[in-house]
């Protein structure tokens, strides 16, 4: 992956520089006339310099410098969490231009530009805002985000160390099979014409491009590592008219069109250093938990009958058995285009005394079109077979090579089968989403002390989908043998549907009892109906799925806002609710949410704050036993008693907990702690315990992640021209979870992430300053980390910069 990372770094940098350059040129071209006018920040009115009238107040600043990074430990983890690298940078730049009062014929009244991060930081950003009085308001933003992910958790290969087959040691994959190194570029541009007129116009354009090399996986007998060429993008246009027919009332008509392009494609990318006897590279899966066993004497092609998965481990590359599940080739492409047209009508009115209303009606018709699906597999999958010879039925003798056999109860062979060798799948598909929603909210200030608010929401979406998929399969006895049997093309024409209609209502009464006490009481109701149809059968659902579902949810709300004095504010709220049914266990039948926040300013220079929140969720249905909570407590103190120093202290505690009864099957190892065998005769999937066999177990899905956060920061300004800051931040997780698989990494459940820092800012001259930052990143994991490389790392990042402003 080194190549991918370095190529991307170079590519990313080039693009970044190009974008930054383009942005800079644009800004310069717009602002050159302004900047040329010899700015004078102290001016508050047009003045003359050499006979030329100045119209603008111009201020600009630049921070240029670079970063020096040194690190040790896991580079993959450093890049996943930090990804700051060495090199020169445009750390920051700002430009502010303001038209002076009375200036005539200016292009804009105000212009503001800010950029930072260009030159190699994972995140770059530029903003540009321009406005001219009542004529227009413009703002644009560009954001670039490089996301590097090499954390071996989601696609955990679980390959134990030292797994050997016939002299060949299976390699452990030291990186995430679902590694990605993508860049997201987001552009948002907004223009409002005549912003304060009776009729104003808005236009918006947004673009989101996300691309880069990634890995994925596919399961066809064994798991193959795939190179995933990630490229998704969307373009969105908005046009809107705002009409203010009366004072306090605005009517808006909006049309939004979004075009999504999904061009991600996949190809076989995970050779594991194996070849067939004829030299063809082959993969027998990247996540073999145990060495693939010998192909039994009664099955398997004649070449490798009775041999282990690795025929010869003494040569390089090692020779793999051609009769096990494996991949020689795999490609897939499924370009899709989706158009999301949305029409919206909104209104807002506060024209009627003491009544404020808002409403919205929206219609979206999303159309997804996948015109050309193409998938090709070449290898061997023993699960999918074709009968090539039936003793007593077929003429002639049994074949000398076959992939598998079928036996009857007496052990006699009833069929000789070949296995899936190649599969060519083509087709097309379409899906729609028709979404209609209407919302209305009103607040009526009945008296000075009492108000009531009401909000009603309606949403109904329907998603029909169809596709036509044709599959042509060929079968052979091994990966070394040409296909000898071609099955008939199979045609799949699913017609699927998902629809949901939701109505909800919330009414709240608010009583401002005194100047320091406000109470609110509310009730929330939601009703939902859902239909789901999936016509294609699965192994377990021979007729597919077709069901309807509905639920009703009720909750009561209570809120209190206290202001004992001008310096102290306390807010609290409670919401408790229940539902007669829930769609999935993690959507609870009973829930309570508690929140309390307080802010106290005993002095102008001191702010103390605290917060506590608790979200409790339950589903006590039989054999579900879902229970979860998110509890957090945090406190903060910001003290600036002197212009020479200030102090900021924070502490936070967060506990995320969940559990639910589950069942699982263990046919290999001893059951994990927390699990209990299921009663005899009770099934978990297709596994049933008997008096002599225990394979089905109850588990708990238990997860508990108490996390503590602390930070302390001091800002020192001993003299006017010198400022420094020193601080420390730490986040520590000390969690536990049900460990179904001892080889599965539990992630950062036992980890500590520390990042102390030290900054200085030394103003050399009125326009010049030196800046220096030191940031330390230390990440460590305790306990078992699973079958992967250690993820601990330490990194020091030094940033030096020169600041110029005028």
């Amino acid at each position: 992956m080194k190549n991918i990372r370095s190529m991307q770094a170079v590519f990313g940098s080039c693009v970044s520089v190009a974008i930054a350059g383009a942005f800079a040129l644009t800004i310069l071209s717009v602002t050159a006339p302004a900047a040329a006018q010899n700015a004078n920040p102290s001016n508050t009115a047009p003045s003359k310099d050499n006979g030329e009238t100045k119209s603008y107040d111009v201020r600009e600043s630049y921070d240029v410098g670079g970063r020096i990074v040194e690190r040790s430990g896991s580079g993959a983890m450093y890049d996943t969490l930090v990804n700051m690298q060495s090199g020169p940078r445009i750390l920051n730049s700002t430009l502010e231009v303001h038209a002076l009062p009375g200036a005539k014929h200016t292009i804009f009244d105000n212009l503001f530009e800010n950029s930072g991060g260009y030159g190699g930081d994972p995140n770059d950003m530029s903003t540009l805002r321009m406005s001219k009085g009542k004529l227009y308001d413009f703002n644009g933003m560009f954001r670039r985000d490089r996301q590097y992910f090499d954390y071996n958790l989601l696609g955990n290969p679980l390959v134990p160390s030292g797994l050997v087959s016939n002299g060949y040691t299976y390699p452990q994959i030291g990186y995430a099979p679902h590694l990605f190194n993508t860049v997201r570029r987001m552009t948002d541009v907004n223009l409002t014409l005549l912003p304060i007129s009776k009729v104003s116009f808005r236009a918006n354009y947004s673009q989101n491009i996300n691309q880069g090399p990634t890995f994925s996986s596919i399961h066809i007998g064994a798991e193959a590592l795939l190179q995933q060429f990630w490229r998704n993008s969307s373009d969105s246009w908005l046009g809107a008219v705002d009409w203010k027919p009366f004072h306090g009332t605005t009517l808006t008509v909006e049309e939004v069109l979004t075009h999504y392009k999904g061009d991600t494609s996949w190809q076989f990318g995970g050779q594991t250093g194996l070849a067939l006897a004829n030299g063809t590279a082959v993969s027998i899966g990247f996540d073999n938990v145990t060495a693939v066993g010998a192909v039994s004497a009664s099955t398997g092609c004649s070449v490798a009958k009775g041999q282990a998965a690795i025929v010869n481990g003494a040569v390089t590359p090692a020779i793999a058995n051609p009769c096990v599940n494996g991949y020689l080739q795999y490609t897939r492409s499924q370009p899709m285009r989706t158009i999301f047209p949305t029409e919206a009508f909104r209104f807002q009115s506060s024209t009627i005394n003491n009544v404020q209303m808002t409403g919205r009606f929206m219609y979206t018709g999303a159309n997804m079109n996948m015109p050309a699906y193409n998938e090709y597999f070449n290898g061997l999958e023993s699960r999918v077979t074709a009968n090539v010879y039936t003793p007593g039925v077929s003429k002639g003798a049994a074949p000398t090579a076959w992939c598998t056999v079928t036996k009857n109860a007496a052990g006699a062979i009833t069929a000789y089968n070949d296995c899936l060798s190649t599969s060519t799948i083509t087709g097309s598909g379409k899906a729609q989403r028709i979404n209609v929603s209407a919302d209305y909210g009103i607040v009526w200030q009945i008296s000075r002390a009492f108000s009531v608010s009401e909000q009603f929401d309606f949403e109904n979406f329907r998603q029909p989908a169809i596709s036509t998929i044709s599959e042509v399969d060929q079968y052979s006895s091994s990966m070394l043998t040409a296909p000898v049997f071609t099955g008939a093309a199979s045609l799949t024409t699913p017609a699927n549907y998902l629809g949901q209609r939701t109505e909800s209502n919330r009414v709240t009464g608010e009583w401002e009892a005194t100047d320091w006490l406000k109470l609110s009481l509310g009730y929330h109701y939601r009703a939902r109906t859902l239909n789901f149809i999936q016509s294609v059968a699965t192994d377990a659902l021979a007729t597919g799925r077709n069901y309807g579902y509905n639920d009703n949810e009720n909750s009561g709300l209570f809120g209190v806002a206290l202001r004992p004095n001008a310096q102290w504010r306390i807010n609290g709220s409670v919401e408790t609710g229940w539902a007669n049914d829930v769609y999935v266990p993690v959507s609870p039948r009973q829930f309570q949410a508690y929140q309390i926040r307080t802010t106290y300013k005993p002095k102008n220079w001191a702010v103390l704050s605290g917060a506590y929140s608790d979200m409790e969720r339950r589903d006590n249905a039989a054999n579900v036993g879902y229970m979860a909570h998110n509890r957090s407590f945090a406190t903060n103190a910001s003290l600036a008693p002197s212009e020479y120093y200030s102090l900021d202290l924070s502490y936070g505690y967060l506990d995320v907990y969940s559990r639910a009864i589950n069942c699982f099957v263990d046919t290999v190892a001893a059951a994990p702690a927390d699990s209990t065998p299921m009663p005899i005769g009770l099934a978990c999937g297709n596994a049933v315990n008997s008096a002599t066999s225990t394979t089905a177990f109850y588990g708990t899905s238990r997860y508990d992640a108490p996390t503590q956060y602390g930070s302390a920061g001091i800002v020192l300004t001993p003299v006017k021209h010198f400022q420094s800051a020193i601080g420390y931040r730490v986040n520590a997780v000390d969690g536990t979870t049900e460990l179904l698989n001892p080889l599965a990494p539990t992630g950062t459940l036992q980890s500590k992430y520390q990042s102390p820092y030290f900054d200085i800012n030394w103003k050399l001259k009125p326009s010049w300053a030196l800046k220096g930052d030191w940031n330390y990143y230390g990440y460590g994991e305790d306990g078992g980390i699973g079958p992967t490389d250690p993820r601990n790392f330490h990194g020091n990042m030094y940033t030096l910069g020169l600041h110029y402003e005028h």
Binding site: I218, A561, F664, N731, A744
Partner: protein
Amino acid sequence: MERFWPRTRLLLSRASGTGQGLRACWMMLAASLLCAAALAAPPRTKPADVTTKAPAPGDFVGAEVCASCHEAETKGFATNPHTRLALAHNNSGATCESCHGPGKAHVEGGGDVTKIFNPAKASAKEVDEKCLGCHAAAHANFKRSAHAEAGVSCVSCHSVHDGADKEHLLRAAEPTLCFQCHNDQKSQFSMPFHHKVEEGLVHCSDCHDPHGTLQSKGLRATADQNAVCVKCHTEAAGPYIYEHPVVKTEGCLSCHSPHGSPNARLLNVANMNTLCLQCHSATNSSAFPHVVSPTGPAHSQVATEVACTNCHSQIHGSNSSNIYFK
């Protein structure tokens, strides 16, 4: 496109209990109104407020007069967005008296503070009314927002004279401003895996509108009425030929903790398989017959099976596999 989907009863039918629930809501509303009427009889009248009387042109003194005493407050006005209007109207647009009311009585009273509207001394509701007098169209849902209910007024976050954030006149830039009250969120954003809010790439206001929306927690939504998450994660917007229905009906939060998590994919639990089994377990077959695929838990979980997403890699939805393989 030909109508190929089954005719739905969704538009025609009503969820059982809907009628009762709505009736209960309306009854609650009616009861609230009655209570309100009782409490408000006779309604208290507003105290004398200079802003409620239609001022005569002669009641205004002009910004220059204000600046002669309130120099500190007017110093930052040169770069204040409100001055756009002043420029547009040749200094007769939004000025000091647009918010504080006509200043003649205040000036003639020798700076009598009772003769002018002072947001620092006013209640949250009075401040909000003043600001919404111009900004109601932009913040149509503010009065029903959690901030308004909690008495967090406009000036709690905005410094009208000269904010640290020039565009929105915020008292401090995001997320520092938000963390001043929501400091419990700070620990989530400091987890090893988090959205890059403190790094400045993502702002709280990208996902939440502090002025309120029609959704809970002030969450925004995309133009096509999807979760705000798909504004960036566009590939999850669908529609798919094979939907994983929970993604669309229950939302992203069923599986993800968007602020931060110990899990690399911001999952709600540490281990992928545990997360999947919370729903896809045969133990749920009586309570949730629709979510159980019996082949799921039949996969051996101990030392033989990899992460569910190794095979079910397209778990948000697929256009070619009903079990989300590809």
